[in-house]
Symmetry: C2
Subunit: 412 residues, 2 copies
């Protein structure tokens, strides 16, 4: 027992050089928001960033805004803001569409670049849309199939039939972080490409796409990047691969000359060829505001704080909730873990609802996981302490078992 | 010569029962906005609609908003608002992704439903992204090709190899409206499906998808629907076809149970199976506000006003600019035309720039077309008069030929 107290947590906050970043966000008063890994909090600047685009650009300059306010350059400009968060060059990241749609583009492009190979290899239990989009591409082609194996068996399962290794860097349920460098190297050794989903990584943990020689990646704008609900996603294609890869979603914004209105598609140079339709400018403005919150932030310190918050949660759960039936699902090693911590419990669903009713917002992931996200931009150490205390009280007082907490919502 | 004067135009406005709708929109003062067919004007309600979602939903309720504010139901709810504008049942329209992405989904779904057929038939010079997405689907499959013919040759070109007839209802450049009923019937007679792009139709001209027995349709949210730059698009699948069609973009939001987190994709019942990623809620709020501007509007009167505005433009162009080198590209018959009118002129590009510099915002479409959109929700008859007068002055005084008007912008 360390006997770590609420005063200790407050001292950690007082010593936290990043503590001031919290003021950049609206957060519910009197509660603890542990779901920034699902929907990031609202930056204080965002309402005016979006309102200004609506009022002063769309409202005043209308169609001229595409040139005058460089709306047309937003996908590349926002990509350039994400690039340093994921260890990429700014020519390698572009913002567009959704994570799902971007998965389709890159899976299909990868398969086309590895003709004759018949397997997309992924992890059993990977985030559903990753598996579903792979199934969609495979179903449309007919000559390729998705194969899933346990994470520990991935490297051994890569063979000469593998066209693409499709993995999520940090697992949405367990928070386990896979070894991007080793798995990418193993894929390359057998001639396969590697596509990494960074949805639960970007903005929360170190990612080194270029240093790991990653080929392709996608990621989400509305989690740790704070871009707002359903924010545009991003995609990464290594510079060296861009000339040879083509998106099957060959929309006009990816054309070499979109306003020439040619009948025949000809892909743009560089990453712009992975654009498809017209950029969603209101959503782009919100994401740009979300990304602006990283300006001037020491990323090493930010990622260290993520690890420290998670370490504290694990410590306190052991010390204060150790006999309440929770089983740690996430790795203890902070270097093999994302910025959320998950516990299995047979009553995870009503427990999660009871926490929410008491202002501690985590989420439930089927079948039995309570997931607690620790977004380092705006969470305090005292928030972690208070969340665990609330959980302990709910459990020891039996509040979790109220009938209303067992009712299932449409979105969990 | 009718000798139609500015006073006549003002009398038309005074007698226009829809004139009050203009007050629902922000419009630039002192100018005439003739590009609502490219980017619809800003409704006065929209900034607060989006700001309220940002501030009171995302900011306050965060992740709980998916249930509490029915974010999760937005695609269907907004589809239900579009349905009456296009002659569909509210179970047949859903809002998601971009027009380009939705084209891909429906083209691919249609081809899968017509195995063994080898042709996607479209119009030469159709809007580029329609052709490009067809090329993208065809390229990914390998056993299908896009064939384009002139609009007048479409019906005769449909044969037993035709899987899909892919057409835009109102042509983006010429404003010509194709005969949806006759062409759809011809497609069905040869066993093909018909997919109509309503981007330049929805909200401006009558569309009767169900009465014309249309199979599939897509359309744009940011033109006459006033949803804002890059607004989400919509797609239509006739009720009778929904059980048999599947989207290759099989993302998690189209799954029968998205929050069961199954490894295997299983499509939702009904049109929800055509969803893919997470709905973009800021953009959804703006589009919902745009669609709200149609509430209580007599659609027959609205579409009649569109025809009357276009008729007046054509009349005045003949009477006041008849000797200035403009050739009407659009049909004279208002029942075979959309809500924009296009003129060819060898100097269309600098003329368009000169108009914009004088507050009359139309657009140029390569190679030589000046396109003037007449959005009936907010344009006045006097706007048409003033636009033509400005054009006449620019031409007769030679202002159009200033060197600065010849410089090409990135977005035209």
């Amino acid at each position: 027992m360390t006997g770590f107290t609420r005063q200790d947590a407050m001292r950690c906050d007082a010593e936290d050089g990043l503590a001031g970043l919290r003021d950049r966000f609206h957060l519910p008063s009197g509660g603890v928001y542990l779901d920034g890994n699902s929907l990031g909090a609202l930056p204080r600047d965002t309402e005016e960033a979006v309102g200004g685009l609506v009022r002063s650009q769309w409202g005043q300059d209308l169609i001229a805004s595409w040139n005058r306010h460089d709306w047309i350059g937003a996908p590349q400009r926002l990509g350039g803001l994400i690039a340093p968060l994921v260890g990429a060059r700014d020519t390698e990241v572009i913002v567009c569409d959704t994570t799902s749609v971007n998965l389709f583009k890159l899976i299909a492009a990868a398969l086309a670049a590895r003709p004759g190979r018949t397997t997309i290899l992924s992890e059993t239990g990977n985030f559903p849309t990753d598996l579903y989009m792979a199934q969609g591409v495979a179903g449309m082609r007919g000559d390729v199939a998705l194969r899933t194996v346990a994470a520990d068996d991935i490297v051994d399962a890569i063979d000469d039939r593998t066209a693409l290794v499709l993995l999520t860097h940090v697992h949405y349920r367990t928070s386990r972080m896979l070894d991007m460098r080793a798995i990418t190297r193993a894929a390359h050794a057998r001639g396969a490409l590697a596509l990494w989903d960074l949805s639960h990584s970007a903005g929360a943990v170190p990612v080194a796409l270029d240093a790991c020689a990653v080929d392709l990646a996608v990621g989400c704008g509305y989690k740790y990047l704070n871009g707002g609900p359903g924010a545009p996603a991003f995609l990464f294609v290594a510079d060296r691969l861009q000339p040879e890869l083509r998106s099957p979603l060959s929309g006009w914004m990816g054309h070499a000359s979109p306003f020439a209105f040619d009948d025949a598609y000809s892909p743009a140079d560089g990453l712009s060829r992975f654009l498809c339709g017209t950029p969603p400018m209101l959503a782009m403005a919100a994401l740009e505001s979300g990304l602006a919150q990283f300006a001037g932030v020491d990323l090493d310190a930010l990622f260290a704080k993520s690890r420290a918050l998670c370490d504290l949660l694990i410590l306190l759960m052991r010390e204060r909730c150790g006999d309440l039936g929770f089983t740690l699902v996430s790795p203890r090693d902070p270097l093999r873990r994302g910025s959320h911590v998950s516990y299995a419990h047979p009553q995870a669903y009503p427990i999660c609802q009871a926490l929410i009713a008491n202002g501690v917002v985590g989420d439930f992931r089927a079948p039995d996981v309570l997931r607690l996200g620790l977004a380092p931009l705006y969470l305090r150490f005292v928030d972690v302490f208070d969340a665990v205390e609330t959980l302990r009280r709910i459990m020891t007082e039996g509040e979790w078992d109220r009938p209303s907490y067992h009712a299932r919502a449409r979105v969990t």
